[in-house]
Every structure is written in C-alpha cells, then in structure tokens.
C-alpha cells in the first residue's frame, strides 16, 4: 500500500475524529453548565445527585463508560439495538464524561467571581438571568479558559478511545491498517495528526485568550 492511499484512508478517520471532537464540545459545554448549577443548587437533593454524577464520571475510566453506554440499552433495559447506535453511544459517552469535568471548572469559575458583582447587579435592578449572562458568565469564561484548554486538548487525544466500540475514527483505522500491512507507519501518522490537531487547538484557545485580554 502506498503512503497516499494510506493517508486517504486515515483522512476518513480524521473526519470521524473531528466529528466526535466537535459534537462532544457542542453538547458537553452547555450540559456542564447545567450540572454546575445543579452542583451549586439550594435544593439538597439536586446538589447530591449532581455531586454523585460528577464523582462517578470522574472516578471511572472513560473507556468503561463508553462500553456501559453502548451496552446498557440491552443489559439494563433489554432493548436490542442496531449497529447505528455505535457512533451515538460514543458521542453520548464522551458528552456525559466531559460535562462532568466542565461542570467542576464552571463551578470553580463561578465561585471565584466576587460576591460584589452579584450585589452590584442586583441593586441596579438586573434579574438573576441578566446578572448571570451579562455580568457573571463573561468573567467566568475568561477565568476558566486555561483549564478548559487543558480539557479540550485531552479530548483530542481521548477520541482515540472510541476504538473500544470500533467506531472508524482515525486511531481505530490506524491500528487496522497497521495490522493488515504489518507496519507502524499508520500509527506514526496518527500520532502526528493528534499533535497537529492539538497545535491548532492551542492556537485557537490562545487567540480567544488574547481577545479576552482587553480587561483584567
């Protein structure tokens, strides 16, 4: 197999890797915010449930979570599913896991905002929603950018875990090509791809950080 063919095949995997990456961020970032609210809720039950959720998601391997999400419909509910559920399970597993991490990052960021910001907004007559979205959240985003960047970079590499459900993302394909061709080149190409992907991620996050650097 020549290198061009190999790259072409890996490229298909890259598209899937990109899909897992973007869909995970798209859903886990807002879900994380909701869980963070639950974690800080005045209602003890909601608070405890959120805490347990975060504890389980952070305390068990993501690979195991992917397997559980994929097989749970059958083993828990007895529903037999088609193979199309594979990719859905991967996205679901990643979103549930990353939302837990993002929730804790949001919580730290929200709690770091001085109480005076809430009070100033309240006295000025802002509603709770206006206070959060106009005053608090923009400041939270600036503060949590560094830890979020860390998580996003980890996510790029974690997408390779989708191989346990044999979703044809790049790492799964790289391993299959490597096995068929008895060569390590696909694995090297995969490594290079993850590295370049992460360079891009770091670059974009740095741009955002710069953009928000107009105030302190």
């Amino acid at each position: 197999m020549d290198v061009i063919t190999m790259l072409k095949q890996l490229a298909e995997g890259m598209i899937v890797t990109g899909q897992i990456f973007f869909l995970t961020l798209l859903f886990s970032l807002p879900l994380g915010l909701i869980i963070a609210f639950g974690r800080m809720s005045k209602n003890g039950l909601i608070r405890t449930v959120s805490k347990i959720y975060i504890s389980i998601m952070r305390g068990t391997p993501l690979m195991l979570q992917l397997i559980v999400v994929y097989f749970a419909p059958y083993y828990v509910f007895g529903v037999r599913f088609g193979s199309g559920y594979r990719m859905v399970a991967v996205i679901l597993g990643f979103v549930l896991n990353y939302a837990a991490y993002f929730a804790e990052i949001y919580r730290a960021g929200i709690q770091a905002i001085p109480v005076g910001q809430h009070e100033a907004a309240q006295v000025l007559g802002f509603s709770k929603g206006q206070t959060f979205f106009r005053i608090i959240l923009p400041q939270v985003i600036k503060r949590i950018l560094p830890p979020v960047t860390n998580e996003v970079i980890t996510l790029v590499k974690d997408t390779s875990l989708a191989f346990v459900l044999t979703v044809a993302e790049m790492f799964t394909l790289a391993k299959q090509i490597a096995a068929a061709q008895t060569t390590v080149i696909p694995l090297m190409v995969a490594g290079l791809f993850y590295y370049i992907f992460n360079l891009l991620v770091a670059f974009v996050m740095e741009l955002i950080e710069k953009k928000l650097g107009y105030y302190r």
Partner: protein
Amino acid sequence: MNLLEINHMKKSFGDLEVIRDFSLSVREGEVVSIIGPSGSGKSTILRCATLLEQMDDGDLIYMGEYAAKSVNGKSVYMGKGVLKKIRSYFGLVFQNFNLFPHYNVLKNIMDAPVTVGKVPKEEAKERALKLLDQLGLSEKGQAYPYQLSGGQQQRVSIARALALQPKILFFDEPTSALDPELTGEVLRVIKELAAQKMTMIIVTHEMQFAKELSDRIIFMENGVVVQEGTPDEVFHSENERIREFIGKIEAVY
C-alpha cells in the same frame, strides 16, 4: 411624605443580634450620616435598606410603598414585581466600587438604564456622557476599570448609580478602600450632590466630612442608636462613648 421610612428593623445572624431596633425617616433633600464603631450594624442597615439582606422584623417603606411589612413580629416582603419597582427608587455606592471589569466606563454606566430601565440607547449614552462630564471623567468613557485609579473608579460607580435617576442614594463607606490622597475627589463629588439637593444616606468614618455635610447624624453602637441629631448635637454630646469614639477617629485623621 417621607422618601424612606424604616420602622423597628431587627436583624440577627445566627445568635448574633446585629440590629436590635432601628427606625429612620428621611425627607426629600435630606443628607443623613450614620457613624459608629465597626460591628455596630451600620452596614447591615444599608444592606437591609437596599434589599441585599432581608431583615427579620420591621417595615421598609419607600415613597409610601411597602417593600416589607411587619406581620406578627416578622417582616413579610412584597412580590418580585413590587421589589423591582422599589429598587428603581434607590442607588447604592459600594465600598469596593464593584464596577463590571469587562465593560468600559461608558457601558458600566449605560448598561442598567438600557437593559433594566428600557431607556433608548442614544438617550442613555447622552445621559452617561453628561454624568461623566459632571464628575470630571469625560476623557475616560472608553477606559476599562482596571485602567483607572481608585478615586476615578469610585466616581464612575457614583455615575453608574446616578444614571438610573434614583430618588435616594446610599453610600457604604465610599472612601474606606481609597488611599488618603484620593478620598478628596470622591468627597467633593458627594458634596456637589448635596448642593443639588440629592437625598443621601452615608455610612462613613470621615467625621469632618459628616459634620460639614449632614443634616442629621446617627451614632450607632451594638445594634442600637445611641444618639441622633444635628451634627452640632452629636459632636458636642455628653455621652461618654460618643466623645471617646469621635476623639479616637479625629486623632487618626
């Protein structure tokens, strides 16, 4: 009619009785200063009056409208809508300014009138520029809070409170977080407001300032009013504790 009326306010934090029985009536154009040692409950009165805290018992009435009413020894607060309207009657200037760091000076001042007061953007901007001009900050509209000195930040926060055109303005130790050389510019602004007959309630440690400016001074200690009267009456009080406190403060400044 009194702009503000507080009847028999009581407030505890856990077992600690911070305010035992506090009443106050403020007429339009009056300047009232509240002085007293730390922990005497002055700031708690402001926080209860501005609805940042809820009192345990007592009435809170603005322009004849109840924000809270004492029923069977407990304060019952009005609904969201009423409180929202009442919030538009007053403004509060914080000790630590609490400006919004991600907004420039102009936006800090304009944001509440536009989003809360539904004032058209152009009008709000005009109003903000006029205020900045009055407070000697016309150059600073595009600056961000971190680029300003403490005195400038406090003046912006006064402008922010004024932009909502409140009937009454509260100050919570407005110069305590400032370097001594910066307090003058803030005090001057407050004096100008007094000259314009702005109704104000000021918690402060600046005795000389309180003496010059106030129509009435309230001296508090341990959650109760020890003396209330004209600056003359309070500053020449026979009360041992007041004499001691004023002596100490004046020695420091």
